[in-house]
C-alpha cells in the first residue's frame, strides 16, 4: 500500500468536486424545508436534472445551456410535487416517494438515446497566475464555474434567509403557516416558490454529476445522492453554512474511499480487536461516570468485550487483508447514518431546530 501517492491538495480539490452535487441539492432542500415542506423526492429531481442537463448539453453542445435545462427540468418535476401537496393536499412523504420512483423511470426513458455519447467538456475558470500557486492554486483556483456558483449560492441562501424580508416571510411560513396566513401572506405561493427553487437546485446537482463529475449518463447514476442530501439537511440543523460543512465532509469520505480502492489499501485485521477493546472501555467509563449503580450484566458484557478484543488482536496480529471494494463503497451510506444518529440523539437536538410546520399540510379553512 502506498498512501503517500495521495496528494492532499489534489484530495481536497477532488472532494470539492465530489461534494458539489450534494451541496446543491441539499441547499435547495434546505430552502424547501425552511418553508415547512418536506420533499423526499430529491433523488427523483436530481436524476431528472442529470438526464435533462445531459440531453440539452449533448444536443446543443453547450454545457451552460445544459445546466439551465437541468434546472428547468428539476423545477418542473418539483412542480408536480408542489401542485399535488399544496393544491391536492396529498401526503408529503408519499408524494415525495412517488416523485423519486417516477423520476427514476422517466429519466431512464429520456436517457435511452444518450447512452453512449460523451457530453461537451466543461473547462476550468481561468484565474491566470493564481492557478499556479502550489497547493492553494490546486485547491481554490482550478475548478469549473459550478463549484464557485455552488459556494456563492450557500452565501446567497444564508443572506436571503437571515437578512431579507422575503427570507423572513419564508421562515414565518415554515414555522407557523396559520400565523403567516393570518398576516396576509400567501402560504401556498411562498411554498410553491420554495419547492421550485429546491427542484432547480436538485436539477443542477444532478447535471453536475452527468456533465462534470462522471461525465456520462447511466441509469440510476445518482445512486442515493438525493437521500444523502436529505440527511445532510438534518445534519446541518437547517443552517446553510453547516450544509457546506456536511456536504464537504461527505465529499471527503467519498473521495477517500475511492482513493483507498484505487491504492489497493490493506486493512489490518487487528484494528477490529482494538475497536472492541475501545467500545468495552468506553461503555465501562460511561457506566462509571453516569452516577447510577452499574448493572452486573453490563460489566460482565464489557469485560467480555475487552477480553475478546485483546484475544482477537493477538490472534490476527499482523495480518493484513485487502479492503473489499464493496465494503468501502458502503462507507458513505454507513457514515451518513452514523452522522444522522449523532445529530438526532441527545434530547432531540435535530428535532428542536427543525421548522415547526415541517411536513404539515396547510388548508385555509375560511
Amino acid at each position: 500500500m502506498d498512501l503517500s501517492a495521495i496528494n492532499p491538495a489534489v484530495l481536497i480539490a477532488s472532494l470539492m468536486v465530489a461534494a458539489t452535487p450534494i451541496l446543491l441539492a441539499a441547499l435547495g432542500e434546505l430552502v424547501v424545508e425552511k418553508s415547512g415542506v418536506l420533499n423526499l423526492g430529491v433523488e427523483g429531481m436530481m436524476i431528472t436534472g442529470a438526464v435533462c442537463g445531459y440531453a440539452v448539453a449533448v444536443s446543443t453542445g453547450s454545457p451552460a445551456l445544459g445546466f439551465v435545462g437541468a434546472a428547468l427540468g428539476g423545477a418542473l418535476m418539483s412542480m408536480v410535487f408542489g401542485i399535488l401537496t399544496q393544491y391536492f393536499m396529498s401526503n408529503q412523504v408519499a408524494t415525495g416517494l412517488a416523485l423519486t420512483l417516477f423520476g427514476l423511470g422517466l429519466s431512464a426513458l429520456i436517457g435511452q438515446g444518450y447512452l453512449q455519447l460523451r457530453p461537451p467538456p466543461v473547462g476550468e475558470v481561468n484565474f491566470g497566475p493564481l492557478a499556479d500557486i502550489p497547493a492553494l492554486g490546486t485547491i481554490f483556483f482550478q475548478h469549473d464555474a459550478m463549484v464557485y456558483l455552488s459556494l456563492a449560492l450557500v452565501g446567497a441562501v444564508w443572506a436571503f434567509l437571515k437578512f431579507s424580508r422575503w427570507g423572513l416571510i419564508l421562515r414565518a411560513v415554515g414555522e407557523s403557516h396559520d400565523a403567516a396566513h393570518a398576516l396576509g401572506y400567501k402560504v401556498i405561493h411562498v411554498r410553491l416558490m420554495a419547492i421550485a427553487f429546491g427542484g432547480a437546485c436538485a436539477g443542477l446537482g444532478g447535471a453536475y454529476l452527468s456533465l462534470i463529475r462522471v461525465p456520462q449518463w447511466t441509469e440510476g447514476m445518482t445512486a442515493g445522492a438525493g437521500w444523502i442530501a436529505l440527511a445532510i439537511v438534518v445534519f446541518a440543523s437547517w443552517k446553510p453554512v453547516w450544509i457546506l460543512v456536511g456536504a464537504y465532509l461527505f465529499g471527503g469520505i467519498t473521495v477517500l474511499q475511492l482513493n483507498l480502492q484505487a491504492a489497493g489499501a490493506m486493512f489490518p485485521l487487528a484494528a477490529i480487536g482494538w475497536i472492541l477493546v475501545g467500545l468495552g472501555l468506553i461503555d465501562a467509563l460511561v457506566q462509571h461516570f453516569s452516577g447510577k449503580n452499574p448493572s452486573i450484566l453490563r460489566i460482565v458484557f464489557d469485560i467480555c468485550l475487552v477480553a475478546l478484543g485483546i484475544f482477537g488482536t493477538w490472534w490476527v496480529h499482523g495480518t493484513l487483508v485487502p479492503f473489499k471494494i464493496e465494503y468501502l463503497s458502503m462507507s458513505p451510506y454507513l457514515i451518513t447514518i452514523l452522522v444522522l444518529v449523532i445529530m438526532s440523539s441527545g434530547r432531540g437536538r435535530a428535532a428542536l431546530s427543525a421548522p415547526a410546520a415541517l411536513g404539515k399540510p396547510f388548508h385555509a379553512s375560511s
Binding site: S90, A108, I337
Partner: protein
C-alpha cells in the same frame, strides 16, 4: 372559483372508487406517453393490461402473474401496517436482499445434505435476516430518535453492496468457473421452492402472501394491536392517552415489514430467481410501496393491487419484446400511477364547491 371543503370524515364511497379512477387516468396518461414515444397507445395498453390475461399466450403469462404478485403482496402487507401508523419503512428492498442472502446462506451451508428440515430452516433464516435489517432503523428510531425514512432507505444501498460482495465472495459457486453468483438452488432439491401446481406459478411464497393477507386482515380488524396501529395513524395524541406505547409499535411495525420482506426475498431466491447474484433484486421493495397505497393500506385492496402491478410488470416485459417499448417506460408508468392515486385522494377527503368570487 372552485373551493375545497374538508369532509368531516373521509368518504367511504370515494375511498373505494379512487384507486379505479387513478388506474384509468394512468392508462390515459400512459397512452399519451407511449404515443409520444411513437408507439400505438391503444396497442401498448392492450399489450400491457389485456394480452397477458386474455391474449394468445395467456397460458404462459397467467402463471407469471402469481410469481410476480407473490413478493409484491407479501412486502406490501408488511409496509401497510407501518404506513397506517405513520411509520415509514421505505427500505423494504434492502430487507428483501438481506432476507434472501440469509436464507440462501443457510441452504447453501447444508449443501449437499438432504433433509426435510432444510427448507423450513431457510424460511426462518430469511425472515430473521429481513427482521434484523429492519431492526436497525427501528432501534435507531426508538433509542436515538433518528429518522427511520432516511436510515431504512440508505440501508438499501448498503444491502446492495453486501449482495455484490456475497455473490462475488462468500456465497459464490465454487464450481462456477469463477463467475459471480451462488449455486443454483433450483438444482438442490432440499433447498428449492418449486412450483406447487404446474403452470399456475404457485409457490410457497405465494401461499405465504395469501396467509399474510388473511393474518393482516384479522390483525387489523379483530386484534388490539391492529386497533392501536389504526389509532396511532389517525391521532397519535389520542393513541398516547389510550396507553399505546409508540416505541413498541415502531418495533412491531418495522419488524413485521422487515420479516415479510425477508421472506419474500427468500422465496424469490429459492424459487423463481434460483440463485444469489449481483442483480438479484429487481425493485419489488419499491414497487410494493405503490401496491400498498393503491390497495389503500387494506389487506384485500393490497391483494388486488399486487395482482394489477404484477400485470404491469409482465405486460411491460411483453411490450418490451413485441413493441420495443423501453423497460423504463413501465417504471415511469408505475410512478405515474402513484401520482394519480395521491391526486384523486383529494376527492375522498375534500368536497369540491363551486363558488362565486367574492369581493375581498
Amino acid at each position: 372559483m372552485i373551493r375545497l371543503d374538508k369532509r368531516p370524515q373521509p368518504s367511504r364511497l370515494w375511498a373505494a372508487v379512487t384507486p379505479l379512477v387513478a388506474v384509468v387516468l394512468t392508462m390515459l396518461a400512459g397512452g399519451a406517453l407511449f404515443a409520444f414515444l411513437g408507439k400505438n397507445p391503444v396497442e401498448a395498453i392492450r399489450t400491457i393490461f389485456w394480452d397477458p390475461v386474455f391474449g394468445e399466450f395467456a397460458w404462459y403469462y397467467r402463471g407469471q402473474l402469481l410469481v410476480k404478485a407473490g413478493p409484491l403482496i407479501l412486502i406490501a402487507i408488511g409496509l401497510s401496517l407501518g404506513f397506517r401508523a405513520g411509520i415509514w419503512n421505505i427500505g423494504a428492498e434492502g430487507q428483501y436482499i438481506v432476507g434472501a442472502i440469509c436464507g440462501a446462506g443457510v441452504g447453501l451451508a447444508f449443501y449437499p445434505a438432504e433433509g426435510w428440515y432444510i427448507f423450513p430452516l431457510m424460511v426462518i433464516a430469511g425472515a430473521l435476516g429481513g427482521f434484523v435489517w429492519a431492526m436497525i432503523p427501528a432501534i435507531l428510531k426508538t433509542r436515538f430518535n433518528t429518522n427511520e425514512i432516511l436510515v431504512s432507505l440508505l440501508l438499501v444501498y448498503v444491502a446492495e453492496q453486501l449482495l455484490a460482495s456475497m455473490s462475488l465472495g462468500l456465497l459464490r459457486n465454487p464450481e462456477g468457473a469463477g463467475f459471480p453468483g451462488s449455486r443454483n438452488l433450483k438444482q438442490y432439491e432440499a433447498a428449492s421452492n418449486p412450483e406447487l401446481f404446474a403452470g399456475t406459478g404457485m409457490h410457497w411464497g405465494v401461499v405465504a402472501a395469501f396467509l399474510a393477507v388473511i393474518l393482516a386482515y384479522v390483525l387489523l380488524n379483530r386484534h388490539m394491536l391492529g386497533f392501536q396501529i389504526r389509532l396511532t395513524g389517525q391521532s397519535p395524541r389520542a393513541a398516547r392517552f389510550a396507553g399505546v406505547r409508540p416505541n413498541l409499535l415502531i418495533v412491531v411495525c418495522l419488524g413485521a415489514s422487515g420479516a415479510l420482506a425477508g421472506l419474500a426475498g427468500l422465496f424469490e431466491v429459492s424459487g423463481p430467481a434460483g440463485q444469489i447474484s449481483i442483480d438479484f433484486n429487481s425493485g419489488y421493495g419499491f414497487t410494493a410501496i405503490i401496491v400498498a397505497f393503491l390497495g389503500r393500506l387494506h389487506p384485500v385492496g393490497i391483494l388486488l393491487a399486487g395482482l394489477l402491478l404484477a400485470l404491469t410488470f409482465i405486460g411491460g416485459e411483453a411490450a418490451q419484446a413485441n413493441m420495443q417499448l423501453p423497460a423504463s417506460a413501465i417504471q415511469a408508468f408505475q410512478g405515474m400511477l402513484l401520482f394519480f392515486l395521491l391526486a384523486v385522494d383529494v376527492l375522498a377527503n375534500y368536497r369540491f364547491r363551486l363558488k362565486k368570487r367574492e369581493a375581498a
